[in-house]
Amino acid sequence: MRPGGRWILLAVWVVALAAIGAFVAQRLRVSTDLRSFMPAPTTPDQRLLMEQVGEGPGSRLLLLAIAGKSDEQLAALSQQLATSLRKDERYSQVLNGSFDIGSLDEQLLPYRYLLSPTFDAQPMDAPFLRDQLEQRLEDLSSPAAGLLKGLLPRDPTLEVLKLAERWTPPKSPDVREGVWFSPQNEALLLVQTRAAGFDPDAQGVAIDGIRKAFAALPEHEGATLKLSGPGYFSVVANAQTRGQAEWIGRISTVGFIVLLLLAYRSIGSLLLSALPIASAALAGIAALIVLFPQVHGITLAFGFTLLGVAQEYPIRVLSHRRAGENALQSVRDLWPLLLTAIASACIAYLAFYASGVNGLKQLAVFTITGLLVAGFSTRYLLAHLLPGRVHDVAGMGWLVRARRGVDALPRPRWIPVLVAVVTVLMLVFARGAFWQNDLSALTPLPQDLLREDARLREALGAPDVRYLLVMEAHDEQGVLALSERLQPTVDALVARHAVDAVELPSRYVPSEAVQRMRQQRLPDRAALERALSEAGQGMPFQAGLFAPFIDDVQKARALPPLTEERFAMSPLGQRVSAMLMPRGDHWVGLGTLSGVHDVAALQALAQGGNGAVRLLDLKETAESMVVDYRTRILHALLAATLLLVVAITVALRSVRRAWHVLAPMTLATFLVLAAERVAGVEVSLFHLVALILAAGLGLHYALFFERDTGDAAEQRRTLHATLVCVLSALLVFGMLAWSSIPVLRAIGLTVSLGVAFHFCLSILMAPHARQD
């Protein structure tokens, strides 16, 4: 190409990149909801789990502890913080223990006669009222007088207190100075965010809001605010992952540039070879924007890592330049092999697409688009731009010696057999579980953070997060009726200590049928007045004192039954809507359990419910999801492997040559697995992803080593290119292996080991080069 044409091509390429860049900058919407990287739920239980994990009340709960001052000051801070957060749109509920009668608002107060079970067994008649009035008289002369005096005219039977007692969480923390306190003298608060728990960005905003509100309190100095809960964890994990990925990325980028400068001694070549990678990244993101409404942050992070493979294409071209030959000619010689490499990497990444997980699908689209763009732009664009005169690496002294050393290595035929036997033995004798099924084991959180969370959870009496009682019926009333039918059995279980406490939705809202039944049992005005005057005979209560009581009972008789919808507006409403929700064509009720001692008894309870009631084990469900997920990935991998064998065999037109490429790759992959197993690593999904990436790299090494050009100089160039690739991969992934974050470490360690094993095995198992 003429020099002028070369500049025009470069300008067009850069302008096109800028245009795609502008499109990306304008349209890219990054989501951070970690759930799109979790397996797609297939069973109803798994769907429920995913909802609970992301949107469930438990996952949106932040636990706050204020410490460092006197009880009195802490209580004041707790009250001020609660007041300020309650005004904020971002929080749907703020509890600090100053829970009292006020939680039933004025308008709902007459509903107490429909919500309380007092009159189910006992009519509101003269003997009952008499007994109640006698008790109230005793109360007035007792220490509780001040407490009850205000309630008396409106509520002589103390229904409000009975409801408050009924609604108090089964285990609640100490109340001092009117607010919750932990045994460690911290004021405790529970804040429910509107944002989903596993959306770190939205949680970050919510947490920021809490910190700002705390910092704005006049007397906050000297007190510390501690946070915990799933939302906080997702923020910490996100920040840590991002922080580590950033500094690791920076160091490896610098190292990578230095490596390439040393290898090719040309700044121009280095800059030009960055173009295919930049094109790959931009094209990949553009494809994601076109195909998906939102692009996941993790897709981008992992995607750029996986695109590291694409860096090989320009490296191969640079290393295989011959003195006096123009770049186009070198690329043409190399292209069939490069195309095979690109195609096989694409096939491997196709396995991600088949996994059915949204995040991994995005990853597949991004990497496959990226690899194709990088490969084709290297072949059809970069080749025209590279400078005509180059430094031929084949003549370098150290490379000649290295190649001679490599060629001189003994390559006995028994090596693959020996490696295979050792791998099998290692896999067989490795101890511990093979698969890591527990998603939480991958959490990057420090242990003391988790311990702190457990301590606060215990202090706040938050319910067991492992089990849920699930009730299903075709409508809201059906669920409530079911929950009411279940109540006596559940009470019996609590009495038998099978479980410490169970909270069913009907504890807050009785079914309409029950409310109507209670309404009908309430006396009319005349009857109540009569009963009350009969009951009050000879008692010192002033005439007309109980008029507000009579009014409330009459109001209760005429009220429309309280529904979840109407209840949702009261402070307790959040709690109810968390326990009762529509799902598609039916409704689901959730019962929370505290202190489960006898799982079998609870399961038996569920079995008695004709399938309408069941015990959901969230941990088991999560694990079953991981197992399903892995099975699908493994199937997809198997299919990809078969496809790969066919593709390589067709491309090389020889089964024997395909064997020379595929055997070292397969052996090395299993060797990595075996080495990690022996080291006690339990294999997680991230290890699988990393193994695929390493296999993709290994396949390239094997392909190029297998290529027999009969030209010693060309063999040296191959070694040079492969060495640069191996070193750059080791640099990037070796750095990741030092990370303290389990996911990054899993990927870094697996790929580094993989690259090393693939390199060694593909050298040792390559066919002998012909001597000069």
């Binding site: 008790q135 008289l137 005793e138 007035l140 002369s141 007792s142 220490p143 509780a144 007088a145 001040g146 407490l147 005096k149 008396l152 005219p153 109340v175 001092r176 100075e177 009117g178 010192p540 209560f541 002033q542 004192l545």
Partner: protein, 162 residues
């Protein structure tokens, strides 16, 4: 009491169990034992479920506790901390202590307490609640002199005269 046509009369024993603990044992008209201990009030009545509540929810009791414990324990500093004190007495044998809670929140429920006594013995404790209700405790030997249908004036006279 405003809600009632006649005053309520109960009799029993009030004992200081040491520290911040008081026990109130009612014998008549119904048996009832209340204890204040560790910031919690518990109330037990024959044939009923015991009732418990935090002392924080009953400011009157906090005041009762403060004044009683301080007086019985002879802890003048504590009394000073919780109340502004007015002392008046004809002579050393007869005196009246008027206590006004310092805490503005408490004053809203209990406006003042007057304790009448002679020598080392308190005889009578009158708690004036902010809503106009009055609670009078006749202590020691005076308790036996409680009339069947007392009036405020009669009790006041009894307290001063006892």
């Amino acid at each position: 009491m405003k809600m009632l046509d006649q005053p309520l009369v109960v009799s029993g024993e009030l004992s200081w169990l040491g520290g911040d603990r008081l026990e109130r044992r009612v014998e008549h008209p119904n048996r009832e034992v209340s204890t204040i201990a560790d910031g919690e009030v518990s109330q037990e009545r024959e044939g009923r479920e015991p009732r418990r509540f935090s002392l924080k929810r009953a400011p009157q009791l906090q005041i009762l506790l403060d004044s009683f414990v301080a007086m019985l324990g002879g802890d003048a500093t504590r009394l000073e901390q919780a109340f502004t004190i007015q002392y008046s007495g004809d002579d050393a044998r007869r005196w009246t202590l008027a206590l006004t809670p310092r805490d503005p929140k408490l004053v809203r429920t209990v406006s003042r307490i007057e304790i009448d006594g002679a020598g080392n013995e308190p005889h009578c404790m009158r708690m004036q609640e902010a809503d106009g209700d009055l609670a009078v405790d006749l202590l020691g030997p005076l308790a036996a002199k409680m009339p069947a249908t007392p009036t405020r004036d009669a009790l006041a006279a009894l307290c001063r005269g006892g």
